[in-house]
């Protein structure tokens, strides 16, 4: 039974306001709109506040509502009743009907209400819907009388296919023992992640949604887990199947409510990350991102100042930071200075990590993480890789030999038609400068627009210039500096040579300030990615 006086008062005030607006529009009417003269007597009663529609009994009455007659104003007044029903959140228009026959009741069967809610209002199956019911008695007569408005609301649970929605979500089954509640990574992501220990056994994901006890489970009983996202269905908890966990281990679980999938993988076997950070006392608890290296997707590197103290590496994945990299040997906090060593993934417990690296002293460090090899290398200044140093005849400054650390490489050759930036010499453009890797100071990378492949030669004796000719120079002060050219046969003042690598092919570099400066590579078509290793003397032209 429902009779909401708050609604009535709001409706009454609204009606007064509306009437006031109407009244002001008519200039020749005497309006007696004294509130005290109105009689608000209608009570709208419903058979229940909460109705669960019964699919098995379509013709049984699910909801009855009744109201009483409005105040009788006598022969001089016409009383009109209008009944209205609308579903909260529905875009469909409210159902309105006049009641002219004195039948002050409405009755709906299970099937009628289901059709009304699903068919007309577009509500979800197997969900709670709030129905707002309104009866308005209007009075037309020799004076204005405030309409009598009564409202009620009823929550109706529809039947039909279950919604892939959860108010609360758990891990259940004998592989986990006591149920563990999962929390969404954000209010809107539809993702739930968890990393932790599971026993060998069975698992599914119990769901509480409204008054329903459901579960996310595989369509088939006892489905083995796989490496990829697995399709998952929402069913009644009593009818739910299970995935089989083959052995005790740490597992990472991702439940995707949007895609209707579940992923269960051993935590150590697969790394899922969008961004990698490091934090702890060594960073003064700041979250410092370790950026992905330019030359490889599985490399992350950072170089800078760290404090003495604890360090671990949280992973961000699907907007959640649930897992961190820590030393595989949980009892060791040694940074293994300059030596690659394995990491492990553990749930992130901010500020209370039991496993971590201990940075021994304030100083400059380089941190390199290889997610394929599952290794971390932390270099102190003592073990860090130094920049390559080269010596050559610096004709610009008149210094010979001139020694220079290589911290940048410039592409130079006919490929860009000798175009140059303002202030730079012919052929030098900043956009064709290679960036030094933070993971390895001997590696330089270009990743950008597809490289041009102009056909041009600065050497007058080159009678057969090739498209896309390029070499790599250690500075942009002049084109005769220390260079990394190709293995093509070449000789100053007589022959220009070219090597024509394919996309993705590794080619050998020749370093120096001699004839190698006339040995070019031909940039392959559609090349937008170049990796040069001046220690290994290799170059790869690729598309990425």
């Amino acid at each position: 039974m429902k009779y909401n006086t708050i609604y009535r008062n709001i409706a009454r005030l609204t009606a007064i306001a509306l009437l006031a607006g109407t009244v002001t529009a008519c200039d020749d009417e005497d309006i007696d709109n004294s509130y005290s003269r109105s009689n608000s007597v209608i009570q709208l009663e419903t058979s229940s506040d909460y109705v669960v529609l019964d699919e098995a009994n379509p013709d049984a009455v699910a909801l009855t509502l009744t109201w009483n007659e409005a105040h009788p104003y006598g022969n001089e007044f016409i009383t009109t009743y209008q009944y209205q029903l609308d579903a909260v959140g529905s875009k469909a228009s409210a159902l309105k009907e006049y009641e002219d026959d004195g039948i002050y009741t409405r009755q709906y069967t299970n099937a009628q209400l289901q059709e009304l809610l699903i068919g007309h209002f577009g509500c979800l199956t197997s969900s709670n819907v709030t129905l707002n019911l309104t009866v308005t008695a209007s009075f037309e007569g020799p004076r204005v009388v405030i309409p009598d408005i009564a409202t009620a609301s009823v929550t109706v649970k529809t039947y039909g296919p279950k919604q892939y929605l959860a108010d609360r979500l758990f891990i259940g089954g004998d592989a986990v023992g006591e149920q563990i509640e999962l929390m969404p990574t954000s209010a809107t992501s539809g993702l739930y992640t968890w990393t932790g220990a599971l026993n060998a056994g069975k698992i599914n994901f119990p769901v509480i949604y409204g008054d329903e006890n459901n579960a996310i489970s595989p369509a088939e009983a006892d489905t083995p887990i796989g490496d990829d996202e697995m399709p998952a269905v929402m069913v009644d908890a009593a009818k739910a199947n299970y995935w089989v966990i083959p052995q005790a281990d740490n597992y990472r679980i991702t439940v995707n409510m949007n895609n209707h999938t579940v992923k269960i993988v051993p935590a150590g076997s697969i790394i899922e990350l969008d961004r990698l950070f490091m934090t702890g006392a060594a960073t003064a608890d700041a979250m410092i991102e370790i950026e992905r290296a330019l030359e490889a997707d599985d490399l992350y590197a950072w170089r800078g100042e760290l404090k003495a103290g604890k360090l671990y590496m949280p992973l961000e994945f699907n907007d959640d930071i649930a897992v961190s990299f820590v030393p595989k040997d949980k009892n060791s906090h040694d940074i293994n200075d300059g030596v690659a060593h394995e990491f492990d993934q553990v749930p992130t417990t901010s500020g209370t990590m039991a496993a971590y690296w201990e940075i021994p002293a304030d100083g400059t460090y380089r941190v390199v993480v290889n997610t394929t090899d599952h290794t971390v290398t932390i270099y102190s200044a003592a073990t860090d890789m130094a920049n390559m140093s080269v010596s050559y005849n610096n004709t610009v400054d008149g210094i010979n030999p001139y020694t220079q650390e290589v911290t940048e490489l410039w592409m130079w050759g006919g490929f860009n038609s000798a175009s140059h930036d303002d202030g730079l010499k012919a052929g030098f453009q900043a956009k064709y400068k290679l960036t030094q890797s933070k993971a390895n100071p001997h590696v330089f990378v270009y990743h950008g627009d597809a490289l041009p492949r102009a056909t041009m030669s600065s050497e007058s004796y080159n009678k057969d210039p090739q498209p896309g000719g390029v070499k790599f120079l250690v500075t942009n002060i002049e084109n005769n500096v220390y260079a990394y050219g190709s293995t093509a046969e070449a000789k100053r003042n007589s022959k220009v040579g070219y090597v024509k690598p394919a996309l993705g092919e590794t080619s050998t570099l020749v370093a120096g300030q001699g004839d190698n400066r006339y040995a070019y590579f031909c940039i392959p078509e559609n090349c937008n990615y170049v990796v040069v290793d001046i220690e290994k003397l290799t170059v790869i032209f690729d598309n990425k």
Binding site: E29, D30, N75, I78, S93, Y98, D100, D101, E140, P142
Partner: protein, 535 residues
């Protein structure tokens, strides 16, 4: 208390038995007010009959409801009626003529009048357009629909000459415009040859179609671009002839078309040379429109829902004429040609457009709305209404235009055959529009009447017409109550059935309008009330 008189009319009038006197029709300006708020319902010898309203049926009353559109050009389907008799809707397949009871044929003057003195309705006129016209009219009559007409003279934006070639050949001066790859000719509306030829057409049209039995209304001046009375071009190259042309065309229509309503577009640049300009209001337009209204024109607008074309000026003008002249609403947006432009007006989709048109029409208290034609019957405006806004189609039938019913009548049930009796009756209008009995073409011809029906034939033995109620004053939310006294007029003793109806006093008091009431209604439209024993 005196100001209540306009809301609740409390009048006593002696009505002569039998046919009404024409003189009584002039009574609508009178106010014979008695004490308000207390009517004589429970009179000795009288019985009170309560009547329930019927709110949803299509009643096919004049100047209310949906209007189905058709043209006469090549875009018209050869299976027009079959298409509309089996029309897709969210309620399943429907017959559109169950929702609309007016067919508006708006087409080129040329199509109606291919040769001088030859008309599409003539038996011996067999142009393809004339065949289409006959097909449309025949189908409309079979479906109990009335015809509305619109004649367009201007060829701008058209692919045919919309004024017949014989007009040009007779020496009418005009101008050439290009539509796509086609050049078309239009007459200057101030050209005397054009005016002479057009007058003959309107005169001959009126001779055939100026009757309320077949024709619902005649729309527009037919001049200007699209016949919408804007973007006009005069022989002078300026607007100097404008007022004379408006006087001429309005005199022409009102002189010859006197029995059915005629309509003019109300917009801010009536027959100016400008393209429709929503940024400025021509200062002469409003006084000219008021002149036309005084002459007897009613109002239409062809851009409902277009927020830059139908805006404050139009809304205010419509409000100023509320219940003075009926308004016909035509939507502005066209699915086939405007597409994403609707988003400029803030519409998300065409369901939203329909809602916007509807709300604008409701705000203007319109009497009629449109189902425009599109040769693609699964795409255009009519399809959109039936498939994207079906609830509004039904809602307009129920709540748009006018629906008239008496909710309570107090009648004598044992009168003497020559007694003076009193009937108290109260009427309501359930629609937001109004019954336009105040237009000169109708001249209050519809009246309330009480009848004694023969118990066996259910035909009227005696009809008592009450000249007092003016139906145009029946406004939603304002019931009108009357106490009518009349003499029984020497009725023979016996048992009869009291009935009430809305009669057409120009047609021997036959039923003219259907009452929107639940109850026992004769096929002619008399609502039976109670048995009466005349002593």
């Amino acid at each position: 208390m005196s100001t209540l008189k306009n809301i609740f009319r409390n009048r006593v009038r002696l009505v002569l038995a039998g046919t009404v006197l024409a003189a009584a029709l002039t009574a609508c300006g009178d106010d014979e007010v008695i004490e308000s708020g207390s009517h004589n319902w429970e009179m000795s010898g009288n019985k009170i009959v309560d009547i329930k309203p019927e709110r949803y049926k299509l009643l096919r009353n004049p100047m209310t409801g949906w209007v189905l559109y058709a043209g006469l050009g090549d875009g018209l389907s050869d299976t027009f009626w079959e298409d509309y008799d089996n029309f897709e809707s969210t309620a399943g397949r429907v017959k559109v003529s169950d929702y609309a009871h007016t067919l508006f044929i708006r087409a080129a003057w040329t199509y109606f009048n291919p040769e001088e003195g030859v008309y599409a309705w003539d038996d011996n006129c067999n142009t393809v357009e004339a065949k289409r016209f006959k097909m449309l009219v025949k189908g409309a009559k079979e479906r109990n629909m009335k015809i509305a007409f619109g004649f367009i003279c201007d060829s701008q934006d058209k692919h045919d000459n919309f004024t017949p070639d014989y007009v040009r050949e007779a020496g009418a001066k005009g101008y050439i415009t290009t539509t796509g790859s086609v050049q078309v000719w239009s007459p200057y509306p101030d050209d005397p040859v054009f005016q002479e030829k057009h007058e003959r057409f309107i005169k001959d049209f009126a001779a055939r179609w100026d009757n309320a039995e077949e024709t619902m209304y005649v729309s527009g001046t037919g001049l200007g671009k699209w016949g919408e009375s804007h973007s006009a071009r005069y022989s002078t190259g300026n607007e100097a002839p404008r007022k004379a042309v408006i006087d001429w065309i309005s005199d022409l229509y009102t002189r010859y078309i006197t029995h059915v309503p005629i309509f003019v577009n109300y917009h801010r640049c009536l027959l100016t040379t400008r393209d429709f300009d929503w940024n400025s209001v021509d200062p002469d337009t409003e006084p000219i429109l008021l002149e036309l209204i005084d002459k007897g024109y009613s109002l239409r607008h062809d851009a409902f829902g277009m927020k830059t074309y139908y805006t404050t000026w139009e809304r205010n003008f419509a409000a100023s004429q509320r219940y003075n002249r009926p308004i016909i609403a035509e939507g502005g947006w066209v699915k086939g040609s405007h597409g994403n432009s609707i988003k400029g007006d803030g519409y998300a989709d065409y369901a939203d457009v329909r809602r916007g048109e509807y709300n604008e029409a409701k705000g203007a208290f319109v009497n009629m709305m449109d189902f425009r034609y599109n040769s693609n019957l699964t795409w255009g405006e009519t399809w959109s209404w039936f498939n994207e806004a079906y609830d509004l189609v039904e809602e307009f039938i129920a709540e748009g235009g006018y629906r008239l019913y008496p909710d309570k009548i107090s009648l004598p049930v044992f009168p003497g055959g020559s007694d003076n009796v009193t009937v108290t009756h109260r009427w309501s209008n359930l629609g937001w529009g109004y019954c336009p009995t105040n237009i000169p073409q109708w001249n209050q011809k519809y009246k309330v009447a009480f009848a004694l029906l023969d118990k066996s034939t259910m035909k009227p033995v005696k009809v008592y017409v009450d000249s007092e109620p003016c139906l145009n004053t029946w406004i939603k939310g304002r019931p009108s109550t009357y106490e009518t006294r009349f003499n029984m007029g020497g009725v023979k003793a016996g048992e009869y059935i009291w009935a009430v109806g809305l009669v057409d006093t120009t047609r021997d008091n036959e039923i003219g309008l259907q009452i929107s009431a639940k109850g026992d209604i004769t096929p002619e439209g008399w609502l039976k009330l109670t048995t009466v024993n005349v002593k």
